[in-house]
């Protein structure tokens, strides 16, 4: 398709569609989701755009290129010599995921994104019991009742979600959990008729069961009446915004309850994933597993408990001998600062990303990478993991993408 079609307008940071009128407001503040129009007419996050221009100037000198070539050579030697390798990081696009997985396969490494506990809990719950899910577009069009479960951190992570959820007509929305007045107002401003019921999240699956016993057509409680009356109820939650003990069991219980509701009516869950969804999806189609794998002779072995990135780190740092012969490959599609706990690790590291951090470990190497969706076109999943968006680059590439560095190791 080579027509002069309008480019998809997508926030490359949050993966949400940003064709929303208020996002054109150039006076918006400088938080990551603020958008401006770039010269090519595409909406890009302000902060990413400024980072992109900074990057171009940072990597054009011959001296730096020479340094990076030398880093690549040394890192290749480290990869060959290491007896235990972990590929980890903040992997947000299909291209970086593919490269990381291929690197892990080639060097018989373990691979797992850095903060994968949230995703792992959601995946474990699904692997045990399944559920009835929904995509954002379907939920937006079909919902007769929204039930948003969680706490304020949901909106801190995806502040534009209420606008993306709303179809332009009045729809009731029930907020369950711990919500501030600001969050309630956020949903109201998006157009929902909001009722907030404060409750302990831990108890929620049980409470739902009490409000709507099987076979019951009438409930004493107002919530129960709403739940029983709606013909298509959408339960929205983000696993990363659920501060509950035993998150996987909590999700499993909610999913089971929702699945059961479908015996007589229609109810679905919309689980809003993290930016690492693109990694988990890609890893699943390439290897059959969502991550937390160790390659042995090129064959992936899956153990959601044994091959957790941070557990690998604990194992390697516990032994002086293991420490010296291990290598942590950090693949970064994020513009956030590198985690302090990573920089403090007494392990050799190869960092491929836009940010060098300030590690003092003498064996650490940095290969600078561009910015997904800004300096390079990449594919990223929307939070509901249904739509894989091709996020166009707007700026001329300055640095290589992590996937391009990874290819050079493999060539």
């Amino acid at each position: 398709m080579d027509e002069s079609n309008p480019k998809p307008k997508l926030c490359s940071f949050c993966s949400l569609v940003c064709e929303l009128p208020d996002l054109d407001d150039r006076s918006a503040g400088p938080e990551p989701w603020c958008i401006k129009r770039s010269g090519l007419g595409k909406l890009v996050p302000l902060r990413l755009a400024s980072m992109a221009s900074a990057h171009r100037s940072a990597v054009t000198s011959d001296a730096q290129e020479s340094y990076f070539e030398s880093s690549l050579r040394i890192a290749s030697q480290q990869l060959r010599r290491a007896s235990s390798i972990l590929v980890t990081g903040r992997i947000h696009c299909v291209e970086s995921a593919r490269g990381s997985i291929e690197l892990a396969r080639r060097f018989d490494a373990a691979i797992d994104p850095w903060d994968s506990d949230t995703a792992s809990d959601a995946i474990s719950a699904m692997q045990r019991g399944g559920g009835y899910g929904v995509s954002l577009g379907e939920a937006r069009d079909r919902a007769e009742l929204w039930v948003v479960v969680g706490q304020d951190s949901l909106l801190e992570q995806t502040p534009r979600l209420p606008i993306a959820m709303h179809r332009g007509e009045s729809v009731p929305l029930l907020l369950l959990g711990r919500w501030s007045d600001a969050s309630i107002e956020n949903f109201r401003e998006a157009g929902f008729d909001v009722v907030c019921i404060e409750c302990e999240l831990e108890d929620l699956p049980k409470r739902l069961g009490q409000w709507t016993r099987v076979g019951q057509t009438h409930s004493e409680s107002q919530v129960g009446q709403w739940l029983l009356g709606a013909k298509y109820t959408v339960f929205l939650y983000a696993p990363s915004a659920l501060d509950v003990e035993g998150r996987d069991l909590w999700i499993e219980a909610l999913d089971r309850w929702v699945l059961q509701r479908n015996e007589t009516t229609r109810a679905v869950t919309l689980s809003w994933g993290t930016l690492q969804s693109s990694f988990h999806q890609t890893c699943t189609w390439l290897t059959g597993f969502p991550g937390r794998i160790q390659f042995r002779e090129g064959i992936p072995q899956y153990d959601p408990h044994g091959y957790r990135a941070k557990d690998w780190v604990d194992r390697q740092t516990a032994s002086a001998q293991a420490k010296s012969r291990s290598l942590l490959v950090w693949v970064d599609d994020s513009l956030e600062e590198l985690p302090g706990e990573l920089l403090e690790l007494d392990l050799p590291k190869l960092i491929i990303g836009p940010n060098p951090g300030s590690s003092n470990h003498q064996a650490d190497r940095w290969l600078p990478a561009g910015i997904v969706g800004v300096t390079h076109t990449v594919n990223m999943f929307r939070g509901d993991q249904t739509i894989l968006a091709n996020v166009h680059s707007d700026c001329p590439p300055g640095s290589q993408m992590p996937s391009q560095w990874l290819k050079r190791f493999l060539s």
């Binding site: 398709m1 929904v134 577009g137 699943t284 189609w285 959601p304 993991q385 739509i387 091709n390």
Partner: protein, 554 residues
């Protein structure tokens, strides 16, 4: 240009009738039967006692997309149980393995082209990307329509066939699809409104639309747009006793237009007999034999563990109680369709499963024209594609077929007419149901045969009295004229091609999404621009894929 001579090989492609050994040349990416005498030959292989077939084509196999990936995700177990119990199935590492294993195992059977039959328009990019990561196979996909609310609204409002054609053309083009598939026309959307069944002449609960209207509109669009492959239909009432009525009504609904019925085995059931479940395969086979505009793929079941996955949430949900192990995943997706997944174990000792097995074979054996009945298991629904060599033996060897039939539930043995069907497939008929027929049905003139000028995708098999052994392990496989497999070992990677339907209105189709009135309607329904999910052809080039267009030769 590299030239390879396959000397003294017997050509079996369903077209060439001679059984005498001959020479076949691979000249670069194409085939030739004769060469000028001065031609330099780079490699010669004396293949006495071998046959050459075109690379296999799987017209219906679930290898990429959201539900396929969910099926991978829901089955983290790795078990050797199947391998121990049924080594003849040559089990995969999981019912739905990763893309690398899928490509490898297809190639190791001599298959080179596969089609994902259920791409959700919103999710087409993911489907293509997974297929891009499936090595050694050329791939394409069919876009799922017929439950998309935009189309249903257009039919309900009487938008007219011309407007529907424009919309369908856009959906096919923007999904980079080969064809249109309809799954339980209107039924998936009806289930979103809590309706649990929708027959061909029943009205949708929220819109004045019947499945018959949808089937007519889409088959007309496929015909008038000139799509190479006819409407690919998953009928209403999947797996339901007595569903032969709705299957025949579906065939009537297209009023003589070309139609392909997929996994037909699941759609020709009666409700007679001691268990209220019987075979009506003869009725469907008779209809296929009497007309020439119908083709089918069978969707044969093979005994063992699998995962069933389908866009047909209505019927998958109805079957949830049969999940084994007991876990199920369902999704309602993007005002376009849905998906339902449940693990399932087909057992020889179970009456219904035994009769399903028998019904699939009946279809193969009763349909006379082997270029209109295609070998599939609807992978992974009926069983893994790695069972194809076993299935070929079932078709070619009556005694072997009966040896398994004799193990089935006694009531199957008493009601099934399978023993009376003594037909044994010949090799050229196997070539037709696995190569020639699918290629013709898809409009791929230069695939599925060994004609001069066709693509040099060739599988070489050593003759063997046991067809299962023969088709499990080709001696050589060539892709685009290069040998990529020898004696089971994969030698090299190869160029991949994505197959896309071509039709006269492609340019118009792509302009559809830019028209303000269409864009506004789309935006209102989905909340984003139609271009967000539309694939550009340069995305394929960036991924290193070639593009091949299929044409309908009327």
């Amino acid at each position: 240009m590299r030239v390879t001579r396959l000397k003294n090989v017997r050509i079996v492609d369903g077209i060439h009738a001679s059984s005498k050994p001959t020479d076949l040349y691979l000249v670069g990416p194409s085939l030739a039967r004769q060469l000028p005498p001065e031609t330099r030959i780079d490699a010669t292989y004396d293949l006495e006692d071998h046959i050459a077939m075109a690379g296999g084509i799987d017209i219906h196999t679930h290898i990429g997309g959201g539900k396929v990936n969910l099926a991978r995700l829901m089955w983290p177990e790795r078990s050797t149980k199947e391998a121990d119990e049924k080594p003849w199935l040559r089990p995969l590492s999981a019912p739905v393995p990763g893309t690398w294993e899928t490509g490898q195992r297809y190639l190791q059977m001599g298959y080179t082209t596969c089609f994902e039959p259920a791409m959700l328009p919103a999710n087409a990019r993911q489907s293509h990307m997974e297929m891009r990561d499936t090595p050694w196979l050329d791939t394409g996909g069919y876009v799922v329509l017929g439950n998309d609310r935009m189309l249903l609204n257009m039919i309900a409002l009487g938008a007219g066939q011309e407007a529907i054609n424009d919309y369908v053309a856009w959906m096919v083009a923007s999904s980079a699809a080969m064809a249109i598939k309809v799954v339980n026309a209107g039924g998936i959307d009806a289930f979103k409104f809590n309706q649990r069944q929708l027959n061909v002449d029943e009205v949708h609960p929220a819109l004045p639309v019947r499945p018959r209207d949808i089937l007519w509109s889409l088959s007309t669009a496929a015909e008038e747009l000139g799509l190479a492959h006819p409407l690919h239909v998953h009928c209403s009432n999947l797996g339901t006793p007595g569903n032969i009525t709705s299957t025949l009504a579906t065939l009537d609904a297209v009023e003589g237009r070309r139609i392909h019925l997929t996994h037909a085995q699941y759609h020709c059931y009666g409700s007679d007999g001691p268990h209220g479940f019987s075979s009506e395969a003869s009725k469907l086979a008779d209809r296929v034999n009497r007309t020439n505009h119908i083709s089918i793929d069978v969707g044969q079941i093979l005994f063992g563990q699998t995962i069933t996955l389908s866009a047909d949430t209505m019927h998958q949900f109805a079957n949830r109680k049969f999940a084994s192990p007991r876990k199920v995943i369902f999704q309602d997706l993007e005002c376009q369709a849905g998906c339902g997944l449940l693990p399932f174990r087909y057992k020889e000792s179970q009456f219904v499963h035994g009769l399903q097995w028998s019904i699939g074979l009946e279809l193969f054996l009763r349909i006379q024209d082997p270029t209109r009945v295609f070998l599939t298991t609807d992978h992974p629904n009926g069983g893994p594609f790695t069972g194809y060599p076993h299935l070929i033996r079932l078709l070619m060897d009556y005694d072997f077929r009966m040896s398994i039939f004799d193990r089935l539930h006694p009531d199957v043995r008493s009601v099934s007419t399978l023993p009376s069907l003594k037909r044994e497939y010949r090799l050229d008929e196997i070539a037709s149901i696995t190569r020639l027929g699918p290629a013709r049905a898809l409009g791929l003139q230069n695939r599925g045969n060994l004609n001069p000028g066709s693509i040099a995708d060739v599988a070489i098999y050593r003759n063997d009295d046991n067809p299962e052994k023969m088709f499990s392990s080709p001696t050589m496989v060539f892709r685009g004229g290069e040998m990529v497999l020898r004696d089971g070992l994969i030698l090299r990677d190869c160029q991949k091609t994505v197959l896309i339907s071509d039709f006269q209105t492609r340019q118009d189709a792509l302009r559809w999404g830019a028209r303000p009135e269409h864009s506004a309607r789309w935006q209102k329904l989905y909340g984003y621009s139609p271009w967000l999910t539309a694939l550009r052809t340069d995305e394929f080039a960036e991924e290193g894929l070639q593009i091949e267009h299929a044409h309908w030769h009327r």
